[in-house]
C-alpha cells in the first residue's frame, strides 16, 4: 500500500501583506475596539447596562414617591440601590471561558480594567441621571463614593467566590452600613454612613476600590464557581 494516490489538501491563499504605514493604526484601533466589545459581551456587559438602568429607574421612583424616611434614614434605600449597581458590576466579572481564556489572553488585565472602570463610570452616570431633578440626600458625591467603594468590595469578593457570587459581601456590608447609619457611626470604614465631605470615608472607599480593581485586573475573578465543590 502506497500513499501515491493521496491528494494533499489545497493550501489557502495567503492574504497579501498589508501596506506598511497608513492602514495599520486604523486596523489596530478597530481590532482593539472589537476585542473590547467581545470582552464586554462575554461578561454580559449590555445586560449589565440594562440592569444599571433599572437601578437608576428604581432610585428615581423611590425619590419621586418619597419612599425614604427623613433625616439620616433618607440615605437608607438609595444606599441599597447603589449597592445594587455595585453588585451588578461585580457579577459581570465572571468569565464563561475559565482557564482557557487566562492562558491565551495577553490583553486580559487591560480588558478587565477597562471593563470595570467603564461600568463603574456608567453606573455613577446612570444613577446620577436617574436622580436629576429630584432631591437625593447628600448628593452625587455620596452616591459616587458608595458605588466605587461597594464595587471594590465586590471585586475583591470575586477573587474568592467567583464572579457569580460576588454580590454576597457587598450586600452584607450594606446590611451593616444600614445599622451604622442608624447609629451614626463615625469610623471612616463605615463610609456609607458618613457625610459626603468626610475625607477619611473617601480614602477608605477609594482604597478599597483601587485595591479591588488592581487585584481583579491582575488576577481575574475566581474561575471555578464557588458552589462547584
Amino acid at each position: 500500500m502506497t500513499a501515491a494516490g493521496v491528494e494533499t489538501p489545497p493550501v489557502p491563499p495567503v492574504p497579501p501583506a498589508p501596506a506598511a504605514g497608513a492602514a495599520r493604526p486604523g486596523r489596530l484601533a478597530a481590532s482593539a475596539a472589537r476585542l473590547a466589545w467581545l470582552h464586554l459581551r462575554s461578561r454580559r456587559g449590555p445586560a449589565a447596562i440594562a440592569a444599571l438602568t433599572a437601578c437608576a429607574v428604581a432610585l428615581r421612583a423611590v425619590l419621586h414617591w418619597q419612599l425614604t424616611s427623613g433625616g439620616a434614614a433618607a440615605q437608607q434605600i438609595p444606599m441599597i440601590i447603589e449597592a445594587g449597581a455595585a453588585v451588578v458590576i461585580a457579577v459581570t466579572t465572571h468569565s464563561p471561558f475559565g482557564e482557557a481564556e487566562r492562558t491565551t489572553g495577553r490583553w486580559l488585565p487591560f480588558l478587565r480594567l477597562g471593563a470595570v472602570l467603564a461600568l463603574t463610570g456608567a453606573a455613577i452616570g446612570l444613577l446620577q441621571l436617574g436622580v436629576t431633578g429630584v432631591s437625593l440626600n447628600d448628593g452625587v458625591l455620596t452616591l459616587a463614593r458608595n458605588v466605587i467603594g461597594l464595587t471594590g468590595i465586590g471585586l475583591l469578593t470575586s477573587l474568592v467566590t467567583g464572579g457569580l457570587l460576588a454580590w454576597i459581601l457587598p450586600l452584607g456590608y450594606v446590611g451593616f452600613a444600614e445599622y451604622a447609619l442608624a447609629e451614626a457611626w463615625r469610623n471612616p470604614w463605615t463610609w456609607p454612613a458618613r457625610p459626603p465631605t468626610d475625607r477619611g470615608a473617601w480614602i477608605c472607599a477609594g482604597a478599597v476600590f483601587a485595591v479591588g480593581v488592581l487585584a481583579f485586573a491582575l488576577r481575574g475573578a475566581r474561575a471555578r464557581l464557588a458552589d462547584d465543590a
Binding site: R44, A47, A48, A51, A54, C55, A58, V62, L67, T68, S69, A73, Q76, I77, I80, I81, A83, G84, V87, V88, A90, V91, H94, T161, G163, L164, L165, W167, I168, L169, L171, G172, V174, G175, F176, E178, Y179, A226, D227, A229
Partner: protein, 518 residues
C-alpha cells in the same frame, strides 16, 4: 425463551436527595457573613434595649429578619438558576423523576439552611434576653413570623431564579427584597405618625420596629392579631411562589427548553399548582383587607384587628409587685425588678424631705401603662412612671439598668416626686407647676442635692425638650423663682417644715404666690 431480569427503577428517597442538596448548598458560604452582621447589628442592638421580652423579640423581625430574607431570596435565586446556569435542563429532562421533586428538594435545602440560621440567631437572642429579664417568657409569634417569612423569601427567590436563570437574577432579587423591606419600614413609620387614626396596611410588614411603649407586653399581652395577618399574607405569597414553580415547566414549550407537562408531573400537578396560586392570591388578599381594619388600642397601645382579636388579651396581666422594705417602700412590676433598687435609692431622700407632711404618700408604685399619677393629697400612693409620662424629670426604663442608671436618671425621679408633691390637680392636667410650686420644689431639691429641672411639659421619653410655656410660667421670671427658692431654702428645717405643714394644701391649689413664700 429466557426470562430477562428487568431492573426496577430505584425508589425515590427524598431524604437522601435532600441531604445531598443540603451538603452542596451555597448557603454555607454566607453563614460567616450572616454571623458577622448578626453580631454587629442584631446582637449589639438587643444588648442596649430595656430588659423585656417584647423589646428584645422586636429585633428578631426588625433587624435579623431583614438580612436573613435578603440573603435567603438571593441564594435561593442562585440555587434556582442552577440548571439554567449549568445548561443541564435537557439532560435532567430525561430523568425518571418529575421536575418538581428535583426543584422542591433544592428549594428545601436552601430554606433549611436559612431557617436554621434564623433559629440559631433567635436562640442566641433569647438566651441573652433570658439573662437580662426578670419576668415573662419568650414570645413565639415573632419566631413563627420569621420562619414563614424566611421560607417565603426563599420560595420567591427560587421561583424567580427558575423562571429567569441569568447571572443577574440572584443579586437583583436580593436587592429588590432589601428595598421592599425598607419601603415597608418607612410605611410603618408613617403609620405610627398617624396612629390612632385608623387601620393601616403597613402592619403586614414583618419588621414593625421597637415597641413604642417600654411596657409593651408587660401590663397587657401583645395580641397575636398582626402576627396572624402577617402569617396569612406571607403564607399566601408562599403558595403563589410554589404554584408558579410547579407550573413553570408547563409554561414552557416542550422540546425547546425546560420540561414538558408530563415530566412535571402531569395534569393533576398542574391543576394542584393552579389551585395553589389561586389560593395564595386569595389568602394574601384576605390578609391585606384584614390589615386595613387594624387599629391601635388606646388602652394597650397594641395593634388590633377586629376580625382576629380576642377580647381576653385586653385584660391586664396579673402580677405580684416586688417591693423594698425601706422606710419609704417602693414597689415595681417584676419585669422591671432590675431598676427597683435604683428607684428606691432615688426616692428615699426625697420622701424623707417631706415625710409627715399632709398628703405625703406612704409608698410608691410603678404607674400602670402610661397613666399619670393621681394628684398629690388625694392618694396615699405615688405612681411613678417608667416612660416619663407625668414625670418632670423624664427618667424612664429606656435601656438595661446598667446603662441608663446614672446621676441624671436618679435626679429625674427625685424631681418628679417633689414636683408632684407640691403640685396639685391643675399641674397634673397642664404639666406646668406655678412659680410658687416651682420655687418650693427647687428649694427641696437643693436640700437633697438635686438640681432644679429644666421645666418642660410632660412628654414621652425620647421626645425633644420643650421650652417652658403656659400661664403659670409666664407670670414670673426665672430669677424671681430662683430668689424665692433661695429664700425658702435658707429657712431652718423646722421652719420650712412648719410652713409646709400649714401651707402645702394652699400651695397645691395654686393659692400661694412667690411673694408669700418666706
Amino acid at each position: 425463551m429466557t426470562a430477562v431480569a428487568v431492573a426496577r427503577p430505584a425508589r425515590f428517597r427524598p431524604a437522601r436527595a435532600l441531604r445531598l442538596e443540603i451538603k452542596h448548598s451555597p448557603v454555607a458560604w454566607t453563614l460567616p457573613v450572616l454571623a458577622v452582621i448578626f453580631y454587629l447589628d442584631t446582637y449589639r442592638t438587643a444588648t442596649g434595649l430595656p430588659p423585656t421580652w417584647a423589646y428584645h423579640a422586636s429585633v428578631i423581625t426588625g433587624h435579623m429578619l431583614t438580612y436573613i430574607c435578603v440573603f435567603g431570596a438571593g441564594l435561593a435565586a442562585w440555587a434556582g438558576t442552577r440548571e439554567g446556569r449549568r445548561k443541564t435542563g435537557d439532560l435532567l429532562a430525561t430523568t425518571a423523576r418529575a421536575a418538581w421533586t428535583r426543584k422542591a428538594t433544592v428549594l428545601a435545602a436552601t430554606a433549611f439552611w436559612m431557617v436554621l440560621a434564623f433559629l440559631a440567631e433567635t436562640a442566641v437572642i433569647y438566651v441573652q434576653t433570658a439573662g437580662q429579664t426578670t419576668w415573662g417568657g419568650p414570645p413565639l409569634w415573632p419566631v413563627a413570623v420569621g420562619v414563614v417569612c424566611t421560607i417565603t423569601a426563599c420560595a420567591i427567590g427560587f421561583t424567580a431564579g427558575t423562571l429567569f436563570p441569568g447571572r443577574f437574577t440572584a443579586p437583583i432579587i436580593a436587592v429588590a427584597v432589601f428595598v421592599l423591606e425598607f419601603v415597608g419600614f418607612k410605611a410603618v413609620d408613617d403609620t405610627y405618625d398617624f396612629r390612632f387614626s385608623g387601620g393601616s396596611y403597613a402592619v403586614l410588614t414583618p419588621g414593625q420596629g421597637l415597641p413604642h411603649l417600654v411596657e409593651a407586653g408587660v401590663f397587657y399581652r401583645i395580641p397575636p392579631d398582626v402576627s396572624i395577618a402577617q402569617l396569612i399574607f406571607m403564607g399566601g405569597l408562599l403558595l403563589v411562589a410554589a404554584g408558579l414553580l410547579a407550573l413553570s415547566p408547563a409554561a414552557r414549550v416542550p422540546g425547546v427548553r425546560g420540561l414538558s407537562l408530563a415530566a412535571a408531573g402531569g395534569r393533576a400537578l398542574a391543576v394542584l399548582a393552579a389551585a395553589a396560586v389561586a389560593g395564595g392570591v386569595a389568602a394574601s388578599a384576605t390578609a391585606y383587607s384584614l390589615a386595613g381594619t387594624a387599629q391601635q388600642s388606646s388602652l394597650t397601645g397594641n395593634w388590633e384587628i377586629p376580625a382576629l382579636h380576642d377580647a381576653a388579651s385586653d385584660r391586664p396581666v396579673p402580677y405580684t409587685p416586688v417591693c423594698t422594705s425601706a422606710a419609704f417602700p417602693v414597689c415595681i412590676h417584676p419585669a422591671f425588678d432590675g431598676y427597683l433598687d435604683a428607684v428606691s435609692a432615688a426616692l428615699q431622700p426625697a420622701a424623707a424631705e417631706v415625710a409627715g407632711l399632709p398628703g405625703t404618700p406612704v409608698r410608691a408604685e410603678l404607674a400602670v401603662d402610661d397613666a399619670l399619677p393621681a394628684a398629690a393629697g388625694t392618694t396615699s400612693v405615688y405612681g411613678y412612671s417608667g416612660t416619663g409620662a407625668g414625670s418632670i424629670g423624664g427618667s424612664w426604663f429606656g435601656g438595661p439598668p446598667g446603662e441608663v442608671i446614672n446621676a441624671i436618671w436618679t435626679q429625674g425621679y427625685q424631681q418628679s416626686f417633689l414636683f408632684w408633691f407640691v403640685s396639685g390637680p391643675a399641674q397634673n392636667a397642664s404639666g406646668n407647676p406655678d412659680p410658687a410650686q416651682q420655687a418650693v420644689a427647687d428649694a427641696l431639691l437643693a436640700k437633697i442635692g438635686a438640681p432644679a429641672p429644666d421645666l418642660a411639659p410632660p412628654q414621652k421619653a425620647g421626645g425633644p425638650p420643650v421650652s417652658q410655656s403656659g400661664p403659670a410660667g409666664a407670670q414670673a421670671s426665672a430669677a424671681q423663682i430662683a430668689a424665692a427658692a433661695s429664700r425658702f431654702g435658707s429657712l431652718s428645717p423646722a421652719a420650712r417644715r412648719a410652713w409646709l405643714t400649714t401651707h402645702v394644701a394652699a400651695l397645691r391649689s395654686g393659692a400661694i404666690t412667690l411673694a408669700q413664700i418666706p
